[in-house]
């Protein structure tokens, strides 16, 4: 197991290297002189000169890359041209909002996906199973920004039950905070619930036909006990690691959901940055998500080995 873990950790290094190359390379896609493009609409010559100096644009590409990596290593992701603040601070400020939204979405996904997947597996081949599979396909096919709009139409415009947009911090009013987040969290959790349903179902189907489940049944244990205590515990291992893989879906979805419900989070930060040609912010957000994804997957792989008794030698 130690060898596996060491190899797995060693693999992170080249991946991080390539990620940094890709994100550094994004800047090279800008047409024309990067300093002019980065300076935004005004094209102030002083700003252009400052940027050329700051990003060492007169230096050769490998030197610029090395300097950039060194800065990133210090936690310096550059500065937002528009808001004139360090990108790192902006990300740190928006992260809790998206974090809360994502956490709620994940909880909703678990609350729907797990039980539905278990029921579908236990009732394999029945109309219930078919219904759950159809619901999962529905969840995967509906664009989440449209689902958001439909929910706003129903709950805000027609029924007037929930606020259509905005965000209230939990410190200000926990009740308002939950009321503003419940619709976006459901919208975001919907697609993940579908994926989770499919995975739980197939993992449960595999486990339910295993020897140890047959043994548990043969001992005369009640069926519900067999399913929850013996089968589910083992089926959960692959489902747990799925959480890390779905992090990308969660963040991509958050960008759209935050746009629909006007929530000032991470996703809104990158979209606003795109329209303001605030390239340092775009780069910073991409870099941050990639690092988070790589680390999460590393932890998930380690957790998988630690949780799975068969791999624990």
């Amino acid at each position: 197991m130690t060898t596996f873990l060491l190899r797995r950790i060693a693999l992170v290094v080249p991946t991080l290297f390539f990620v940094s190359l890709l994100i550094f390379g994004l800047q090279q896609l800008l047409p024309g002189d990067p300093a002019t493009a980065l300076a935004g609409e005004d094209r102030d010559p002083a700003v252009i000169a400052f940027l050329r100096e700051k990003y060492h644009l007169d230096q050769p590409l490998p030197v610029r890359y090395a300097l950039w990596v060194e800065a990133v290593g210090r936690g310096d992701l550059g500065e937002s041209i528009r808001i004139k603040r360090p990108v790192f601070d902006l990300i740190a400020e928006k992260l809790p909002v998206t974090g809360e939204l994502a956490l709620m979405a994940l909880l909703i996904a678990l609350a729907i996906g797990l039980p539905a997947g278990i029921i579908a597996a236990v009732k394999n081949g029945t109309p219930v199973d078919y219904g759950v599979s159809m619901a999962a396909l529905w969840g995967l096919s509906i664009p989440n920004f449209w689902l958001g709009i439909l929910l706003i139409l129903l709950f805000s415009v027609e029924l007037g039950l929930l606020p259509a947009s905005g965000f209230v911090s939990p410190g200000e009013s926990l009740k308002q905070n939950l009321l503003t987040l419940i619709m976006p969290a459901f919208v975001l959790g919907n697609a993940i619930a579908a994926v989770m349903m499919r995975h739980t179902r197939s993992a449960m189907l595999q486990v339910l036909s295993a020897e140890f489940v047959r043994t548990a049944r043969a001992k005369g244990l009640p069926e519900i006990w067999v399913i929850l205590r013996h089968a589910l515990r083992n089926a959960l291992i692959p489902v747990v690691t799925l959480g890390a893989l779905e992090f990308g879906t969660l963040l991509s979805g958050a960008v759209l959901t935050e746009q629909v419900f006007t929530i000032p989070g991470f996703g809104k930060l990158i979209v606003d940055a795109v329209f303001n040609r605030d390239y340092a912010v775009v780069q910073g957000v991409v870099l941050f998500t990639a690092f988070a994804y790589i680390l999460l997957n590393l932890f998930a792989d380690i957790a998988y080995v630690v949780l799975n008794p068969r791999l624990r030698t």
């Binding site: 693999l11 080249p14 290297f17 896609l29 709009i149």
Partner: protein
């Protein structure tokens, strides 16, 4: 007589049947997949025949008919500057289907060769290529597409490019895995023993045998690409106004939800039905190609 003998055989065991025929026969027995195929074909016909079918010019504004609810003259209603929503939905199918098709073609054209080389050659080249693929997969799909669209500039072409590039790693991974699983099969060893050049072994002996999983993935990827195009257009990074696209129609509709809800209903329904159909067809195709089923 022959029919009787064939009838006596188990349904799935028609001897000497070519694989594509067996797949087709299994596929037509899956109603969900066939419905998916039928709806997809309808959308394709709609996109091709848009100039004939659209009741109005999708760009023509009419200030006398601003935000009119669905009626006999405007079946799906009109938008905030009096354009016919049905006409825009019909023309918008072109942007969606084009984005789905072009980006998946692009992803295949780059991803499959990378996967073939990586899987067949192995060694350091394989290791390096796969770390590059890992790096691309580490950036969430939409975030990477947004970043690319941002740096390339917002347009439908760049959105397709961005979606294609972000989908490429999946095909490279899948192809590599398939190559690894067949490259030591007897027929590949035989082709090598006869003295075929490497490129011929890869293109003539390996590639044709790994097409089925690629086909399934391509169908599902088209569905994902259509959602991605709609998402980018919804954010304003895809098809630019006034040209119609389902995603950008929803972006505008968001601002008129209480006054003109129909503006939001139809484009979303169009995306949903096309994507659902492609997913149904893709799932059916996967089951039909799977030799372990039935």
């Amino acid at each position: 007589m022959t029919a009787q003998i064939l009838g006596a055989l188990p349904a799935e065991e028609v001897l000497g049947e070519p694989p594509w025929l067996r797949t087709t026969r299994r596929l037509v027995k899956r109603p969900a997949a066939m419905i998916g195929l039928a709806v997809t074909v309808c959308f394709i016909l709609l996109a091709i025949a848009a100039p004939l079918l659209a009741p109005y010019d999708p760009l023509a504004t009419n200030w006398a008919a601003v935000r009119k609810a669905p009626s006999a003259t405007h079946l799906f209603g009109t938008d905030e500057i009096g354009r016919d929503v049905l006409a825009r939905i019909i023309w918008g199918s072109r942007a969606s289907l084009l984005a789905g098709l072009v980006s998946v073609m692009l992803a295949l054209a780059i991803g499959v060769p990378i996967g073939l080389v990586s899987g067949y050659v192995g060694g350091i080249l394989d290791g390096t290529l796969m770390r590059l693929i890992d790096a691309m997969l580490a950036i969430p799909f939409l975030i990477l597409a947004i970043a690319l669209a941002a740096f390339l500039g917002p347009s439908l072409t760049n959105a397709m490019l961005a979606i294609g590039i972000t989908q490429m790693p999946i095909f490279a991974r899948l192809t590599r895995g398939q190559v690894l699983s067949v490259k030591h099969e007897d027929y590949v060893e035989a082709a090598r023993a006869v003295g075929n050049p490497q490129y011929r072994i890869v293109l003539r002996h390996i590639l044709p045998n790994i097409v089925p999983p690629l086909l399934v993935q391509a169908t599902l990827a088209t569905a994902a690409a259509i959602i991605a195009e709609a998402s980018l257009s919804f954010l304003g990074l895809g098809q630019q106004p006034p040209n119609p696209s389902w995603g950008s129609m929803l972006n505008t509709a968001k601002n008129f939800m209480s006054q003109a809800p129909w503006m939001a209903i139809w484009p979303g329904l169009a995306i949903f039905s096309l994507v659902l159909s492609l997913n149904l067809f893709g799932d059916g195709l996967r089951d039909a190609l799977d030799p372990r089923r039935e």
